[in-house]
Amino acid sequence: MKGNFLFKFLLALVLLLILVPAGQILLWSVAERWPWPGLLPESYSLRTVKELLFGSAKLPGLLGSSITLALTVGVLGTVVGLLTARATQLYDFPGKELVSFGAFLPLLVPGTVFAMGIQITLIRLGLSDTVAGVVLVHLIAAIPYCITILTDVTRAVGSSLEQQAMVLGASPLRAFLHGSLPSLMPGILSSVSMGFILSYSQYFTTLMAGGGRVKTLALVLVPYIQSGDRALASIYCVAFVGSALLVFFLFEGILHTVSERSRGK
């Protein structure tokens, strides 16, 4: 029991270290003057907020397109993950183990190397500087996570419900939709939200594949950080983290409702 105090202290420290910086950028984003060595800003201003909402970055549009792109990656990644998981978990075929190795492959190739390597192919395919190209590149990064999540869920759910449905006269598609899909929902939502976060946070791959023409919030963020205008950089960080959390919690909320409902069934 004594050791527990040390752990409690550690966890408290960790929580502090996570939450304090978050609080800090909130303060920085509305700080007008915050010279050394004050622990709180000297004066506040809404300059950055005005810049954010009405400035050159056109936030609403940027936010919309970034979220749409990231959601597309999430959904596509989940579809690929579902199909792949189905293949490995419900069927038997030679070379099954290679699939799990293959799913791990994107993690072995760092994003920078991958992006620099694929650019020439994207150019040849006419996909460079396009949203489609960016989606493809983000998809590669998201795949390992989507496959992992969906493999676990598919294995757990199995095909028994579908078999039952088919025995009762349902076509394979309906058997899947009414049989397995409801039970797979939590995993599906988890995978979409994971894919979303990964794509939403991508910088280098967006830069390379989009050539600076495809603008996402994550991409726009970096020059602001390098600009030295701390307040502006902070507000953009707030915008980013805030929007990411909103979408993420939305998914968690849906997930919660879906799980509750399926438990009631």
């Binding site: 050791g3 527990n4 752990f7 409690k8 550690l10 966890l11 960790v14 929580l15 996570i18 939450l19 304090v20 910086p21 800090q24 950028i25 050394w36 060595p37 004050g38 622990l39 690929v80 199909l83 792949t84 189905r86 293949a87 490995t88 069927y91 075929f93 799913a103 492959l105 994107p106 993690l107 072995l108 190739v109 760092p110 920078t112 190397v113 620099m116 390597g117 694929i118 020439i120 192919t121 493809l136 998809l139 590669i140 795949i143 496959i147 976060i197 939403y200 946070s201 910088y203 280098f204 994550a218 963020l221 970096v222 950080i225 390098q226 701390r230 902070s234 960080c237 983290v241 993420f248």
Partner: protein, 289 residues
Amino acid sequence: MKRKWTPFFLLLPFLGIIGVILVSVGNVLVQSLGYIPAFGLTRLTLDYYRQIFAREDFVSALQVSLRLALWSASLACVLGVIIATALVRLKKAGGGVLSVIRLPILTPHAVVAVFMVQLLGQTGLLARVCYSLGWIQDFSQFPQLLYTAGQEGTILAYLWKEAPFVAYFVLAFLSGISDTLGQAAENLGASPLRAFFLVTLPLSLPVIGKAFLILFIFAFGGYELPLLLGSTLPKALPVQAYLSYMEPNLRARPAAMAMNGVILALSLGMALAYWAAMHALAKKVGGIR
């Protein structure tokens, strides 16, 4: 007949994706070996690899990246395991505390960089707290953690984001082992510490090893954090590679690709080392239920 081919059709999108990765890797290798017909280079050669190893900026970049990767992956794993153990021990493996710990996973590297500047910079929060406590009189007395050749700031930044990742990654497995076998060990007379080191930790090594591998490659090939928090010189390898890649003199391209090739080789080498280690471990353990 239909049944036999169904898995193949299901796997088509996946195979497509794998294909794209392999194409990218292929491009890197081919270009690094000097074959870029568009630029008029058609001879396969190892010259570019020899070239970069003779370059001061490459060699120091390689050292920087290795250092960065080894330190951040190791420290993140150690810290992450400790956090996961704390969560298991205090029975907080769910709920509010876990949600907060997940926040860094949701935060992109650029934002983490901002966090670190505001926290660890010489005029950052820590420095200001030290001043209020009277430990320092001027911000120049606060140690320089960012933009240093030792990459301390970058390592700490990776730690901030990756230790929670490790904790989250190993949590399920670790708690499973701890609640059954770890508990049995304590029941047989082992103190919680001994139970952890003799039973829980050895059995969790495969999962921890996987986390280490992922983090190592991630940190080794990472761009944003070394760019924003690293020293101007020497640069991290991916930053260096990108700079060479973007050089207006296209003849520098193969050299840039050779750098990428080295990054790839090291990543793959690490992965192989992991698989070999896991294989040896599996023999020793003979499978866990």
